[in-house]
Symmetry: D2
Subunit: 419 residues, 4 copies
């Protein structure tokens, strides 16, 4: 008894240990609790039904991974030497996603909202967050923001938060693998952590962990190829995008009545004019609520797109080369013929699997003799993982499966085979 | 190729196989997709952060478990002999939860809504559902309703859907254990399934599976004791209850303006007057949206209760005997003194861990010589699991932790020790 | 770098950490390495093919469990306060099985060999062991022996080595479950360890770990019922017993020529006259080698029994009440009629599942208010686990399955049903 | 009841199902039971203590994998169409390792024994095996031998037994990973099996399983790099080799008295003169027994080498380029100076990690349009896995760690750093 200790059961790490009262206060802040209402993998749950976990559980997992990293580095290398650095590292891990909104990447692609920007504002402007962080010390919030923006003042903490070998990725690979039910994302976490070391103020891996880090890099490759960029998921993102575009167009024309107040505060406004409290009021339940209202909208495009999302009648993903202008015309004409507005129902997207690219940011290995080398120089497998892209067209299934002659023309274009 | 097959990756069963097009149509119906927006364990995620999985994933799991049970029984005992019984069993497993609303048990305790009733109405009145089921045959929907209401016309299917040994429980124990991160709910599913047999039109277990079924019964016991009835979770349910009670009281007085249309259709109405489409429009995102609106309500009680839920400032659970009227008076007085409306901030609840109770519904074991026996006669462990209850008072933490003299009086009453 | 660290990958604990050079020396001593050639579960691998793991891997696992227990207790309760107690606890965990021979319990039931006795002698008389332990300090070996014999001088270490809640059992339940492929032996190890505490020089569990310890007690119950006392395994033990009995009888009569030197030194001798080096030369490969030699023996009983073991033609286990003298006569006559020597081919055995029995040695729970209670007072499940026994007859399958009229008489006696 | 069914619990596949009496007879034959006494991974258990599993458990696992493959292919592609092919495939999987002796690869490198040869002889000459196989039909044993020798008469069964995508490898990767405690060997078995298909009498993978088969190929790569070719394990193999070489030299000179009869029948003889029953009498317990006898030999080289193996004082593995003749001379001189016979204590070995090499035997992928492609053409990762070799010198640790000036010279040569 006596000392503070909260133990949270976790499907990935078994137990997550919170033994600092200030960490517990951060966990229970409204800004962090809000992450319970934002899914970690956006629309992936429409492809992998188990992917229902939130950014909140991932944030706890990133915190726990950092906690274990720090215990190892402190014992092994004497860093962090002072308590403040430890606190910065732990809170950065816990709070690194705090600025994310619902369906972040899609949302940001059309609205003037950037989660890095919002992370900064939440840490510096939200009352509750300010109070908790100021209790640590006056400069804590600012230093934290610096770390999350890679300002370079705390290079090792920054490396552990955002690099090719950070606690964010370590947790999400394992967690996403567990929840989607695939084994692709697994790697030897304990061994990887134990192989971290420090030399000249930089975090490196001991060279004998070569195969362990190869396994980790491949886990990322497989998760991108199999889960994150699954064509059905990309198609769901495209659908969300089209709903938001249509809603935006209607708002601009003053034609959208069913609009939750939380969205109004965001969609109409200039980013800097949005209040932090308004941004924090926005989560996935807001959007789902809006989608359901819009599914009864008088605007038939908005209503149909929203229904498609709610009832999982997603766009069909078609993998082929990017159409030329003539082919685009065929697709748009066909859409129009079947009653689909081509601006919202016909689109293409490039998915990019980034490889392991070394641009001064690669993973460094430390040999027993003290010399350094970079991972891709040592590993043929890692070198083989060059970036790759895949182009896909997204249209309603009806456009390829119907009996109408225009469908026949679309089928000729896409070589459609019912999967 | 050629034949229909969808394989869904699943964290519990590895793969869920859908090889009937009509099952796939049911899975993709709006009524079933809606279950993605209702959590399997209600407010448990506020205690076990991993418990974010939905009734949709559980429904798929119950379907898959049934699929495996039927393969076994068909090979072993020749049942189901006809395809229609197989279809009834599979669709009953998939649809058994389709009538559930958000925070079902709490919701039902104050509003005129019963999920069994709604299951029936959805199967018989929802257009899309009607179409899919009628394609099988005209009587299919009615027979399905019969099974889910235990009408007795398909006794073996009913047993597999609702009994002490049903596919519902088999899936949820494993799934809830995985997601909460505890090992308590695990049992030997493959062995249990293989031990099912049929005799005289009844499903029984082979007697040599005694220890396997003991393990399964204990899994349930542990999950109730550790997860389902966790005091923090019960406290979260009580908080939801109080929010809904307060909202209802304000509606009756015509004082609640911030009210999503979906709720209005439900809360004001008589159950039989609610349209199926209105009921299906109600899910957890509706309630979360309402709670967030209410958190800015002019009614300070509703606003405060809603904020408590959204930001996880839950009621403190205090385990002790039920207070007498004098003690209730002390608690209510203290609440009032601290500005808490006692009708909404002071309450008690009994949690009941049901044991394995034999009332003509126990699990029957079949001995090699053909004789039968009932599980609790064979197992001392199972007999030891009598039903049990625990009483708890739920009040705001501020009432026990403050410096005010009234807090001192409350502390004397509850022997509060900061956990 | 610099400091000593060996990390061993382990299927149960993921990683086993050896960070003391003296522990590594003990691990690599001949006496401990010998445990690689003695299976943890004796003949169980003939029933559960995966049960091939050795006492060596279990000893490492018990050491690792102790290491984690001590880290927890040191942080939580400041014990062990001195380094020597820590060393005693770690080495006791690693060495607790060092005196075991091949098929220990069977071997000990007919030869003058007691593993506790041999543990003492190995620690005090083996040259290499003496050297390693004396380097710690002169009294270390004696204190270690005291702990393993529960002399009472180091009560808390003794409790952690031999009690209802010791590191031995914690490791073997998990390890045996993993290797046999059953889930019955699993329990929440991390939570159990974290719940250990110290009060008045005694190790107790915090009362809120009630369900965790119930799960652990049940894990033991299930492993006994399903694995350790599996009738086929008991039958294999009986077979080993009969082989060793027959060999002993032949030796006494001077009729056994094929006798490995290692066995000669043991079987003929008085326990105290056996040299430690001779005892350490004895392991399972010695017995397997002897069995194979004996399988070609001129003595047809010894040859047949040995072949039965090597080729897994085990005795048939028949569960019924103990035969009366008339029934025994029928069995022995039948054996003789079929050419089986009744003294070696007809026998009975009682298997005993011990319950959780409280005789001053129960598991104590510590309540938040400092009061104590004993587990079986708090848990109906634990109380229900009274000791239980089951009687079985072991005879060759041929005696029940043959066409001979005597087989018919045996079948009437045993109500044989081909399983 | 009625029909035959044995279910074996398994740590990898959960349950192994034997539902043919003739399979059960094969499992219980002396030749298959003998595999319980031969470890799957030879001396690997001296590096990864959990690697204690036998070729018997692996053989059951390969059988079970084949059983699942056949169920899939039969349902999907109608093959095997006749029961005999199914029996050939199942028995080939179960028996593929039956000719292996103890420490196979090392043993075969110096004695005239080839496990493929012995597999043939056991199937065709062992009485019990002949009886069981002849009960199926007269040509069964010969056809089985043909399959195991890739005679080409049953190409698809042969492919499933020995190819880059065979049930042997599928089981051993998973099993070795589980037992050693590493995650490297895991892959999506169920998905891989489901992706197998048949076209033009050849087994192929559906092209959409590209990432699944990449994961499987990488599992093999990691297991080779991390487990199978671990330098400590290679050093243990070298030690066994030197023991057997020394024993052979002494036998040739008539100087070895302590020689188990089983070894005498093998080591002295010409392979074709060895009787099957003598070969089957040889297993790891024979060699361990011999090593222990030899550890007390009058020949100090044999005695020391044997003790090193039994007590795990293994050779030190030193990774560097192959020494030139001058460097060899330095090493041998140093050995001699320290009393080590250089012919047995100084040696080098090249370990070879084979890549995925396509020589008419690659894994073929079948595209939806019916065209074929070969895996390494589609996967950059697989292409990157070129074969690789690593050279190591193995000498006693004493040669590098001592204070003697010769040790200094050795250290200069090998750049020894205490790991």
């Amino acid at each position: 008894m006596g000392h503070f200790e909260k133990v949270l059961k976790d499907p990935v790490h078994d137990e997550i240990l919170v033994d600092d009262p200030w960490v517990w206060r951060l966990v229970n802040s409204a800004a962090v609790q809000r992450l319970r209402r934002i899914r970690q993998l956006g629309t992936s749950y429409l492809t992998f039904h188990g992917a229902e976990h939130s950014r909140f559980t991932h944030s706890l997992g990133a915190y726990e991974t950092m906690r274990r990293v720090l215990i190892h580095l402190q014992r092994e290398c004497g860093w962090p030497a002072d308590e403040r650095d430890r606190k910065l590292a732990l809170s950065a891990a816990l709070l690194h996603d705090v600025g994310h909104g619902p369906f972040s990447h899609t949302f940001e692609s059309i609205y003037p909202v950037h989660h890095e920007q919002w992370t900064r504002r939440i840490l510096q402007e939200d009352d509750e967050m300010q109070t908790i962080l100021a209790e640590i010390d006056d400069e804590f919030a600012n230093d934290l923001v610096g770390i999350l923006q890679k300002a370079g003042r705390h290079p090792m903490v920054e490396q552990l938060i955002t690099s090719q070998l950070d606690v964010d990725r370590m947790d999400y690979l394992l967690r996403d693998a567990l929840n989607t039910g695939v084994s692709y994302g697994r790697f030897e976490l304990a061994r990887l952590l134990r192989s971290l070391t420090i030399s000249d103020g930089q975090i490196l891996l001991r060279a004998n962990a070569l195969h362990t880090v190869e396994q980790y890099i491949l886990a990322r490759y497989f998760m991108y190829a199999q889960v994150y960029l699954h064509p059905v998921t990309v198609g769901s993102d495209v659908l969300v995008l089209q709903i938001l575009r249509r809603a935006g167009d209607l708002i601009r024309d003053g034609k959208l009545r069913e609009l939750p107040q939380e969205l109004l505060a965001i969609i109409g406004a200039d980013e800097m004019d949005i209040r932090v409290s308004d941004y924090l009021a926005l989560d996935e339940s807001t959007l789902l609520y809006a989608f359901r209202q819009w599914s009864r909208s008088e605007d038939s495009v908005l209503a149909d797109l929203s229904q498609r999302f709610l009832h999982r009648r997603l766009f069909a993903p078609i993998t082929r080369t990017e159409p030329n202008s003539e082919e685009w015309a065929i697709l748009r004409t066909a859409a129009r013929a079947l009653g689909f507005h081509p601006d919202y129902y016909v689109s293409g997207r490039t998915a990019e699997i980034s490889g392991y690219v070394y641009r001064g940011e690669g993973i460094l290995l430390l040999r027993p003799d003290g010399s350094r080398t970079e991972l891709s120089r040592e590993s043929k497998i890692v070198r083989s993982l060059a970036a790759d892209t895949e182009y896909r067209i997204f249209i309603p299934k009806e456009m390829v499966e119907g009996d109408d002659p225009v469908c026949e023309r679309v089928r000729n274009l896409v070589h459609w085979a019912m999967p």
